[in-house]
């Protein structure tokens, strides 16, 4: 157990060591935030509504999207995929640890830096764009936001495992990102999408990444609905964690021997 805590601590230190890189990443994602603010302000000017969202609500939605895009993402699945691709994972296999848990500890170590970035950006956003709705059901919202971390990790880990077969991560990550962006509701709220896409999103885990915490934040669901969304998040987190465990067991049999 101690090793996982140490890993998280070291990973946190590493993220602070790379503060320039994070500053750059934050600047880029803030730019995205400003762009979507401009877009939605134009679309929803004069008290217009789209899919039941007012401009003020949409601002709140944007903030949640920003937050959930950062949560569990500071360390990034690339470092996991690279470990598999360059064979470093072979070394994990001769250590008395579970690779998946160790990698999760690494991802979890990014949490403090993520909180800093999200907090800073949120403050700037409110100063720039004016008030956003106060969060409804803050406790459920916090749980929902925290669940994004293990869920995003599970999805990322599962995607990275594909590298065992493809030996390349680019294509896999791009495809997954395209699907995830659309079906998580981080591009536009799911309510604005055609019915068939909404149905697709409902049966896939991606909506639990962004749409669920955003709907809880805005009070678009009642308490029962919010509990249902969190329950679904828990279901996906657990299911994907164990699914990834099985996949890892299968995949590590696939370890091919590069270089004799």
């Amino acid at each position: 157990m101690r090793a996982y805590a140490t890993m998280a601590r070291l990973s946190m230190r590493t993220t602070f060591a790379y503060r320039q890189a994070y500053a750059l990443g934050t600047a880029a994602s803030c730019l995205g935030l400003v762009a979507s603010l401009a877009l939605w302000s134009a679309l929803l000017s004069g008290g217009a509504q789209l899919g039941g969202f007012t401009l003020t609500e949409m601002k709140g939605y944007m903030l949640v999207t920003f937050a959930t895009n950062w949560l569990g993402n500071a360390v990034g699945e690339w470092s996991l995929a690279n470990r598999i691709r360059d064979g470093q994972v072979a070394i994990d296999l001769v250590r008395p640890i579970a690779t998946q848990r160790l990698m999760f500890a690494q991802v979890a170590g990014g949490f403090p830096v993520e909180v800093l970035i999200i907090g800073g950006a949120a403050a700037g956003f409110v100063l720039l764009a004016g008030p956003v709705p106060a969060p409804q059901r803050p406790l459920l919202l916090s749980v929902s936001l925290l669940l994004v971390i293990p869920l995003r990790f599970g999805i990322g880990f599962l995607t990275a495992l594909v590298v065992f077969w493809t030996e390349n991560f680019h294509g896999v990550a791009w495809a997954r990102n395209a699907v995830s962006q659309l079906l998580s509701g981080s591009l536009v709220p799911l309510a604005l999408m055609p019915q068939w896409l909404q149905v697709t999103a409902a049966v896939l885990p991606f909506a639990s990444l962004t749409s669920s915490p955003a709907l809880i934040y805005l009070g678009k669901v009642d308490t029962a609905g919010a509990l249902g969304l969190v329950g679904l998040q828990i279901f996906w987190t657990v299911a994907i964690w164990f699914g990834a465990q099985l996949a890892f067991r299968g995949a590590s049999r696939q370890v091919t021997v590069h270089g004799g």
Binding site: A90, L93, V94, P96, G260
Partner: protein, 337 residues
């Protein structure tokens, strides 16, 4: 029972059979053909606690794959392996506590962390007490000069420094058995010597060592047993001294004389040996089988005809034997033990 027992270990891989170029790749998409490669072919090994075994063979012979099978990284296609009673690929975690592994071509340090932090992480993985940890670090300072590397980021280490730090990583938990896959690859002479000295000490402390290398200098002072593998099969398994004794019997005496001497004179004097002329008429090389002649007899014989100024005697190295085996010039007769 031996510490490590492997029986008929076999590993086969499927390799896609593609014609060259884009066309070949497309064709492969539709009509998939594979060739089966046997990387390791019915390898049986039995290694006792405290033994130091050199595992050598040409590139692609299956050395690294064998190590991956023995450590449990790769599952065998068929055959059995047990290390300290544990089947490595079925019980990875229990196995990992008793083994240390070094892949010379790959670091186990975390790239973005100082060496000290990588070691601290390993300390926690292996549940070492602070006291055990301190004693191990002290030991590594003595034999590897580790202290100066502790604050350095792994990515800033030179290759030689990295190998020293990696050795510390592999041995931090005081494993019963150590697999070293090319521990001196790419190192300069000074660092090589240091690593070799470390291996000797490790052996003296009773650690079981399995060492693969292309640099046979690594094994001469460390290992008393040599296993030679080629094409995935063990072609020799026996004592290093015996290999040298049986297959490295040729000696060469290089002579520099005070005066010119015709080649024939020496050639006639030593009919069992092969005498060749050197660069000048005063230099000769006498090659002989140590069963037929001795260096002393050569010197005594030459001294009767000419004054000897300089003498150099070449002892064959295990390297020469192995090189001949690789080149197919020498077939080792029996597999001992």
């Amino acid at each position: 029972m031996a510490l490590l027992e492997a029986e008929n270990l076999t590993k086969t891989f499927r390799r896609p059979e593609k014609d060259p170029g884009l066309k070949g790749s497309f064709k492969h998409l539709i009509q998939r053909r594979f060739t089966t490669m046997t990387a390791v072919d019915r390898v049986s090994l039995s290694i006792e606690a405290g033994e130091a075994v050199a595992y050598v063979g040409p590139n692609g012979a299956g050395k690294s794959t064998t190590i991956k099978l023995l450590t449990g990284i790769v599952e065998p296609t068929s055959g059995e392996v047990r290390v300290g009673g544990i089947v490595p690929h079925r019980n990875r975690i229990a196995n990992s506590r008793q083994i240390g592994v070094l892949f010379g071509q790959r670091t186990q340090l975390w790239w973005d962390l100082p060496v000290r932090e990588s070691l601290a992480l390993l300390r926690d993985m292996y549940d070492l007490t602070p006291d055990q940890y301190r004693r191990r670090l002290q030991r590594f300072e003595e034999v590897l000069g580790l202290d100066e590397l502790l604050p350095v980021l792994a990515r800033k280490l030179s290759l030689g420094q990295r190998m020293r730090a990696d050795l510390a990583c592999a041995l931090l938990h005081d494993p019963k058995i150590v697999y070293l896959d090319e521990p001196t690859i790419g190192l300069d002479i000074a660092v090589k010597d240091r690593v070799r000295e470390f291996l000797r000490q490790l052996k003296a402390e009773g650690t079981t060592i399995i060492l693969t290398t292309h640099d046979l200098g690594d094994i001469e002072d460390t290992c008393e047993r040599i296993v030679i593998i080629d094409g995935g099969r063990i072609i020799y398994d026996g004592s290093l001294a015996q290999v040298k004794d049986e297959y490295a019997r040729e000696r060469r005496v290089h002579l520099q004389l005070a005066e010119d001497l015709p080649l024939d004179v020496l050639a006639l004097r030593f009919p069992q040996a092969l005498v060749t002329a050197g660069e000048t008429h005063r230099e000769f090389t006498v090659a002989f089988d140590k069963a037929d002649l001795t260096a002393g007899a050569i010197l005594a014989g030459v001294a009767q005809t000419a004054e000897i100024l300089e003498v150099r005697i070449d002892e064959p190295a295990i390297e020469d034997v192995v090189r001949k085996v690789y080149a197919g010039e020498l077939t080792l007769s029996e597999t001992a033990s």
